[in-house]
Amino acid sequence: MLDKIATFASKVGNPKIIVLAFSLLVIDNGLFAQNNISFHTNGKIYLVIGVLAAIFIGIIGFLVYLERKLNKLEKQINNNE
Amino acid sequence: MTSFNAILELIKLELKMEWRMKYAIAGAILYVVTTVFVLYTSIQNEESTPWNALYWMLALFIAVNAITKSFALNKSGAHLYLYQLASPIQIIIAKTIYNLCLVFLLLLVSFGVFSLFLGNPIEQIGLFIITLFLGSMGLSLVLTFVSAISSKTANSGVFMAILGFPLIIPIFLSLIKLTTITLQSEAGEYLSDISVLIAIDVILFGFVIILFPYLWRD
């Protein structure tokens, strides 16, 4: 799939996409190619990525919640001054 | 048309009121979830038969209904005087013992009615009576304590269920397990299960005694 992205990027010619595709290719080669697997084989590494992403989203969600409460607090202080 | 609008407005108002008391909605949802969950665990349990699951589910609702009112304070003079005289520990022990007797009696009666309508699959009556007793002990311990907590809220009926049902699940599961043993004709390995149930009752009793004085303060 990554090869497809790379060819697509070179066709589109957008430098950002090329950089992205290139970095993905580097990660792909460095991390997975040595083991001769990718996301799509039965390595199931996508489960680890999914779990880490879920935890990340959960913690970010908590931070957003806390920030909104702090915003309210700040507004309260400003109104009362 | 105007009357229709008025009805609509009233519904809106009702919704708004409900929304302002968010905990009431959350409580209602949790009530549904918890009840269905307890039902599910009793049916899904591999060892249980329909008779067994139904009986204990019924027992749970009977116990909740019998115990809910035990802290709805009766503010008449005699009660108040007695309450001020006794220590909180004496009060909770008295209430728990009373509820134990009540629940045990009700469970015996419902066992009789159950056997009348659904047949009696119990082979070891003695062991079953012991199970009933230990079960009503656990149920009355937890539910009396929970009713003390939920009497502090405006909506004690809902809180009986959402606080009580999840806390009751360990007892509930051991009861179902023990009852399946009484369904077999020869005495199986039941001592360990009975001791687990007794251990749960004793631990819960200890914590109720320690914690209740803090609830009783006001």
Partner: protein, 355 residues
């Protein structure tokens, strides 16, 4: 800085858990044999498909393979050929009789070389013998030279069928539950402190720790569902007791928050919820001990017939990352809890001032 050392520790431990957890490679493993069923008394060739291997480099013909009939009897391959990076062709000469009391039975296969070490797959090859004769099988068993297994000196996580790379979730999913229990325990400590000395700060601390514990519990459910979907093939199963226990624990603690919002008087709310929180923790601990006794089978390790953590399921390399990960996630939870607590204190003080 003096009071923040544990936050630095949390970051370092989590970094360690993430880097080690993602970069340490998996041990090589056997995916399967084709074909895998044979009748005895013939020469056979079977192809072994392996995972995370490269036989074309650095193996130098050191490969051996054998079928393990039982603890005493092994049948070595006559020839091990490299087909491609991940495939070996094994030639066996199967004798007519096997020293086994089973007519048709799946046996373990073991492959070893100096680069990848030993990989074992139970129930990999099915052999069917025409007749059963234990004594004749033992006396006619071919004489073979015992070969030494070679183990390379490398750090690897174990290879498990079905799990594959997702075994790394041991460091991200499981510690959430451990962290939740630690956080709840912390909350119980503050509840006890509040009952002994009614100070609002204790109540706020208990509440904040419980919120983070519930967050961890929910994340534990979500990550568990993702992992289960990829391995057991279902998001959630009620037949799994650990899931039931976690669901009940969630119900108990959601009820805690609803109870709090239903109590108006501040002092009463703090007191009643402290009492409930202690009682609830006792119930959750009871639940953890009672329910597993009732469940007869489980997919999780440590219940029913499955071996427990600390037995075969958690080898030393996993442990090396797992324990630091638990401490790291728990400390992160306490950090988040502290932030939440500091917010609540500020909000309360402001409300008092402006009223």
């Amino acid at each position: 800085m003096k009071n923040h050392w544990w936050k630095i520790l949390a970051v370092l431990l989590l970094l360690y858990a993430i880097i080690m957890g993602l970069f340490v490679p998996l041990k090589s493993g056997i995916l399967g044999l084709t074909p895998r069923e044979f009748k005895t008394d013939q020469k056979i060739t079977t192809h072994v498909k392996t995972y995370n291997t490269d036989f074309t480099k650095g193996v130098d013909g050191s490969s051996i393979a054998y079928i393990k009939i039982n603890d005493k009897f092994k049948l070595y391959a006559d020839l091990v050929k490299v087909v491609d990076k991940n495939t070996l062709a094994l030639d066996f000469t199967l004798p007519a009789l096997l020293p086994s009391i089973q007519k048709k039975w799946p046996y373990t296969i073991v492959v070893n070389d100096k680069k990848h070490g030993a990989f074992v797959r139970p129930d990999a090859i099915v052999l069917e013998q025409a007749a059963l004769n234990l004594d004749a099988a033992i006396s006619n068993w071919p004489k073979q030279i015992e070969k030494q297994l070679l183990f390379p000196d490398e750090l690897n996580f174990p290879f498990r069928p079905i799990l594959y790379e997702s075994i790394r979730n041991t460091f991200y999913h499981v510690p959430l539950w451990f962290g939740m229990v630690f956080l709840l325990f912390g909350s119980v400590i503050y509840s006890i402190k509040y009952l002994r000395k009614p100070n609002h700060n204790f109540d706020y601390r208990a509440k904040s720790l419980t919120s983070i514990a519930v967050l961890y519990g929910m994340l534990g459910c979500v990550t568990g569902a993702i992992w289960a979907k990829g391995t057991w093939g279902t998001w959630w199963t009620f037949e799994e007791i650990k899931l039931n226990v976690s669901a009940v624990a969630m119900l108990i603690y959601i009820a805690y928050f609803i109870l709090r919002s239903a109590l108006v008087d501040e002092e009463q709310r703090a007191r009643v919820s402290a009492v409930y929180s202690i009682f609830a923790f006792v119930a959750v601990v009871l639940l953890l001990f009672v329910v597993p006794r009732i469940a007869t089978n489980s997919l999780h390790p440590g219940n029913g017939g499955n071996p427990g953590f600390g037995g075969e399921d958690l080898d030393n390399t996993l442990r090396m990352v797992f324990y630091p990960a638990i401490i790291g996630w728990a400390l992160l939870g306490f950090w988040l809890g502290q932030l939440h607590y500091r917010y609540s204190i500020l909000a309360e003080r402001l409300n008092d001032e402006f009223e």
